[in-house]
């Protein structure tokens, strides 16, 4: 059964590119456009991995990340932050919130597929 991946990003173009690229790589994809619905979807779907934007309406990626880590159902789910915030301090904040990995925008789709696969393998 293909791994289920949830992507949460408010940029429609980016969301669709990520969905298509990962679908082509054989993953089962789900997408949401803001932090609040992303968190709700994660709780319902219990995906194998979550791709999370940082700056989003309603709830930031960091807030979602904290909430996911506090929830027993999603506390161990790998989370990859997908964001334009590339400063070392931002990376630190992301990892401290519970992110597993980090992909900086603009992003390389091939690298994203590789990171997703590696994170899933580590979590297995």
């Amino acid at each position: 059964m293909p791994a289920r991946i949830l992507v949460v990003d408010d940029d429609l173009n980016l969301r669709e590119i990520v969905v298509l690229k990962l679908q082509c790589a054989g993953f089962d994809m789900f997408a949401e456009s803001d932090g609040e619905t992303g968190l709700a979807a994660a709780r319902v779907l219990a995906p194998d991995l979550i791709l999370l934007d940082w700056m989003m309406p309603k709830m930031t990626g960091i807030e979602v990340c904290h909430a996911l880590r506090e929830d027993e159902k999603t506390s161990a789910t790998p989370i990859i932050m997908l964001t334009a915030k590339a400063q070392v301090e931002d990376l630190q904040r992301g990892f401290m919130a519970g992110a597993t990995d980090y992909v900086v925008k603009p992003f390389n789709p091939t690298e994203l597929v590789a990171r997703v696969s590696a994170a899933l393998e580590r979590a297995a």
């Binding site: 940029d11 173009n13 298509l20 082509c24 603009p106 992003f107 390389n108």
Partner: protein
């Protein structure tokens, strides 16, 4: 009666006209949105190489224009081979060539759109067209062209961007500075050459950017710029030397402080000395705690605070004083030292 009718018509006609214009605009926007929604999947599929370019709407048609715009929106989200592949698709479709032609369009909006597209796609061979648009009669076009040149990156755009600061149709300094920042440190040699420009705005901007890039190789040029005829250039050179942190700059900065210069230059030079952190000017800066010039005592205290032991020794000595100098010294020493100094003052 006739006159009343005429007056009513005169009142109603503009309102009716504006309603019609609004309706037409709304309809056009709604059609354009519907077209974008319909074509977005094709644009996205291009990233995954899941659609053949032959099946796409032809360039120049309404659908073709919307599709190209969607692809141009997508390109800046990507890096690597996928980005290159998308740009190649637009090259093959003739979109890039058409955009280069449209930089000559009669409409300013067309020229601006073309410049924006060439910048977003990173078409470096479009540099001559974008450089020409830096002197366009429309300010909006000049601004878009400057931003586009910044997105191209590399050194070649730097001389054009610096030259665009000159009259009679200058591009705003903030726009050029951001474009130069986006161009990246590859243009350091060109920025060093910019310190010799005939335009004082260009010299000051070049100095500022050299500091932003931490260009150690430009230290000597910036030291020379401390004696520039233009005060903004001197101040920018001082700030840049502080950012670079070159110890060689200490003496020239101290010399600058000893000359009759503007308050802004003095503030910049003091902060630069603090950023460099050499203890040599500690005594001089301690004396500046008594200055009546706006911001100077605070800056001097902050600079001393960044100077290590020598600076902190001066601050501790002055922190016992009652008055502004003592307050600035205590503030720079931090809250712990502040408390200790206050306690000592109270005891005294």
């Amino acid at each position: 009666m006739y006159l009343v009718g005429l007056a009513v018509c005169a009142l109603v006609a503009p309102i009716a006209a504006s309603v019609v214009v609004k309706l037409v605009r709304e309809r056009t926007a709604s059609r354009s949105l519907a077209r974008a929604t319909r074509l977005r999947p094709d644009a996205i599929k291009l990233v995954a190489d899941a659609v053949t370019t032959g099946g796409l709407p032809a360039i120049g048609t309404r659908d073709g224009r919307v599709l190209d715009r969607l692809v141009v929106e997508i390109v800046p989200l990507l890096r690597g081979a996928d980005k290159t592949a998308l740009v190649l698709v637009l090259e093959e479709r003739g979109t890039v060539a058409a955009a280069r032609k449209r930089t000559y369009a009669a409409s300013a909006l067309e020229r601006a759109h073309a410049a924006e597209m060439l910048g977003a796609l990173g078409i470096r061979r479009a540099l001559p067209e974008l450089a020409r648009l830096l002197h366009d009669r429309s300010e909006e076009v000049r601004i878009v062209a400057a931003r586009a040149l910044g997105k191209l990156g590399g050194a070649r755009a730097v001389p054009f961007l610096l030259a665009s600061l000159e009259e009679p149709r200058p591009v705003p300094v903030s726009i050029v500075s951001m474009a130069l920042l986006h161009s990246g440190p590859a243009g350091i040699e060109e920025l060093r050459a910019g310190l010799g420009s005939g335009s004082s705005t260009a010299r000051a901007t070049a100095a500022e950017l050299l500091g932003q890039f931490g260009a150690i190789a430009a230290s000597d040029d910036l030291i020379v710029a401390l004696a520039d005829s233009d005060e903004r250039t001197r101040a920018a050179a001082a700030v840049a030397l502080g950012r670079i942190g070159s110890p060689r700059a200490v003496e020239p900065l101290v010399r600058l402080l000893g000359e009759i210069v503007t308050i802004d230059e003095r503030r910049c030079a003091i902060s630069a000395l603090g950023a460099i952190g050499s203890p040599a000017p500690a005594e001089l800066l301690a004396a500046m705690l008594d200055s009546n010039e706006a911001e100077i005592p605070r800056r001097a205290a902050q600079a001393l605070g960044r100077m290590g032991d020598a600076g902190r020794r001066e601050l501790r000595a002055r922190s016992l004083e009652v008055g502004p100098a003592g307050a600035h010294a205590r503030e720079a020493l931090g809250s712990d030292s502040d408390t200790q100094a206050t306690r000592r003052l109270t005891t005294a």
